[in-house]
Symmetry: C2
Subunit: 361 residues, 2 copies
């Protein structure tokens, strides 16, 4: 049995990918209504509940997680008794934007200029050093655009401090990038690694809306560079599982933004659009099986369904549309599902994507 900390849509899609491989699942989640509830033995508990953690450690052959905010201490408690992949040390990196960016730069992946900040005075200095506009983020606990403040003028610093002050912060130059990209990669315990084609991501209000894969018109050198960064980071961390790295493209340069030590929203297109999905490959990696091909099948697009659900029948009428619902109650800003489109050529994809976005927006 495979244990998953977190029972949301990522755990749900891991389970759906895992049953055909003969796996079974258990999940820990505080909500009895979480998306994996029909597909796993669900332990309803807090992520630091020792009984829940010990149950998972005792009953599972391997444990993984679907979000990087899982308490590292919980992962470590489990790891004393059963393998946890990626190993808990990865959480220390992924949970801290400063350590993460230091890792990137140490391995040759440049990032936007950044400075660590703890006091109001340091914030003032950092803004001057990094330059404005800048984005101030909590070092820990931020996701989907939360815990962030964009400082456009020095006059914004007070409000920024009101909102975020008291926490460890990082001030990053707000980069005028051409587009956002991500690269997903997977590494097995034996050190075998494979990298998916780079994805182009469109965010709105900090939430991923649309992704296209392979990223249109990406220079082969940038694909190679992204692969190289992913392999270096995975090797450095002795990583096992799927890793996502978010990137900014500025002309012919790539800057590292952040990483997620897990299957990732920008990789959902791989279910239909790649030979092996990110979910299947994550499971293959953490269970010690050979990895599958990460090759793309044609051209894919992913559209997130956020806040409200359009009529499923309208979506299913779009040729090649694959609907994935997460079984969650609608709520503003909540990811309720996604749709993947796969087409033989980019023009066909663009036409279908236009129809689909007309239904979703």
């Amino acid at each position: 049995m495979i244990g998953v900390l977190g029972g949301g849509q990522l755990a749900r899609m891991l389970a759906l990918a895992g049953y055909p491989l003969g796996e079974r699942f258990a999940a820990v989640d505080p909500s009895p209504e979480c998306g994996v509830r029909d597909l796993a033995r669900l332990i309803v508990a807090a992520y630091d509940d020792p009984d829940a953690l010990d149950w998972i450690a005792e009953h599972c052959d391997v444990v993984t997680y679907e979000f990087e905010r899982v308490p590292a201490a919980s992962a470590r408690r489990i790891a004393e008794r059963t393998p946890v992949h990626p190993h808990p040390g990865v959480l220390d990196v992924a949970q801290d934007r400063l350590i993460e960016k230091e890792l990137f730069t140490r391995l040759g992946l440049a990032t936007p200029a950044f400075v660590a900040v703890s006091t109001r005075a340091e914030l003032e200095v950092a803004a001057a050093s990094v330059g404005l506009p800048a984005v101030v983020k909590t070092r820990r606990e931020g996701y989907d655009g939360k815990g962030q403040f964009v400082v456009r003028a020095r006059a914004d610093l007070d409000r920024c401090w009101d909102e975020l002050g008291g926490k460890d912060l990082i001030v990053e130059a707000l980069v005028d990038f051409d587009r956002e990209l991500s690269v997903l990669a997977v590494r097995s315990a034996a050190g075998e690694a494979a990298v998916y084609p780079v994805v182009e991501n469109l965010h709105h209000r900090g939430i991923l809306r649309v992704a296209r894969a392979p990223a249109p018109a990406l220079a082969p050198e940038l694909q190679s560079a992204a692969e190289s960064y992913a392999r270096s980071i995975m090797a450095e961390l002795d990583y096992v599982g799927v890793l996502a790295i978010e990137l900014f493209q500025l002309g012919d340069r790539l800057l590292g933004n952040e990483m997620a030590p897990r299957v990732h929203n920008s990789g959902h297109w791989t279910i239909e659009g790649a030979v092996t999905s990110q979910f299947a490959n994550h499971l293959r990696a953490i269970t010690g099986r050979p990895l599958g091909s990460t090759r793309a099948l044609g051209h894919s697009a992913l559209v997130n369904l956020i806040g409200t659900l359009p009529d499923p029948d309208e979506i299913l009428r779009v040729e090649g549309a694959h609907l994935h619902l997460y079984d969650k109650e609608p709520r503003p800003g909540r990811k309720l599902g996604h749709v993947t489109l796969v087409a033989d050529d980019p023009d066909e994809l663009q036409e279908r994507l236009g129809r689909l976005r007309g239904l979703v927006d």
Copy 2:
């Protein structure tokens, strides 16, 4: 919630296809160890257990079945309270080889010569009329080669009668076909229909071993003819769901062998090898949603894993191999899983299929 009579691998794959569409599942099966047990609310009961049937009727929005031997009376009992697709009258046809073949011939799909038989004397006459070799089958209850006897000489008739006598029988000419084919089709309640590419099937000891789709070197006229038969039969039966029709090819002719009113082993390749899988399309049909494209993606092959399981890692090392395990205990002759291969061209497929068969045989 969708109810399924039967909790084996077909129910399992229906459930795996249905969760992304937002469906939930309940299943009735006499075995608590059946393959769907982790993916559905499982009612462990006989297929004619009135409490189980009534529970399903009360709690499910629509009910279907994964095997055609389900008691028609059970389907009718449920249908009094909630929709059953395909409707129970279809079972009367599919459970009787005589009625089935009469339907085929009435709709223009020729079959091997056949005669109904109930007595030893009739068997003698039938053998003379149909000619030898002939295959004698029980009209009802036969599947996967069971309940069949091949009569090559008149001297075999005694042993045949010893084995099958007392039941209603059908004597069919043993046709010297070129190959076995199947056509899978789907029809919605609104009368929308779609047909998958015809599949070539290789059986051994009455069990499907390998299928290739689209059937190699099939004349377009035969694909059209098969589509036409499938559409006629579905329209005649006012059919809702996926229907499989097994065919014999003799030169440029197609003969109807039998039909299965359900998702079918020879359609498992559609999970990765078609735009919309047979499982997703069956669910779309029975829930009143629009059907999805039945177009093939490249060239696919399906290899059944029967009796024993090879090392999964060896299978997963074959490029493009997709493993599907059914979570069943190994037993001689038992279908334990299947592997699908998808390739861009037939030569590539043949090469991979050769490697895979080397692992499986």
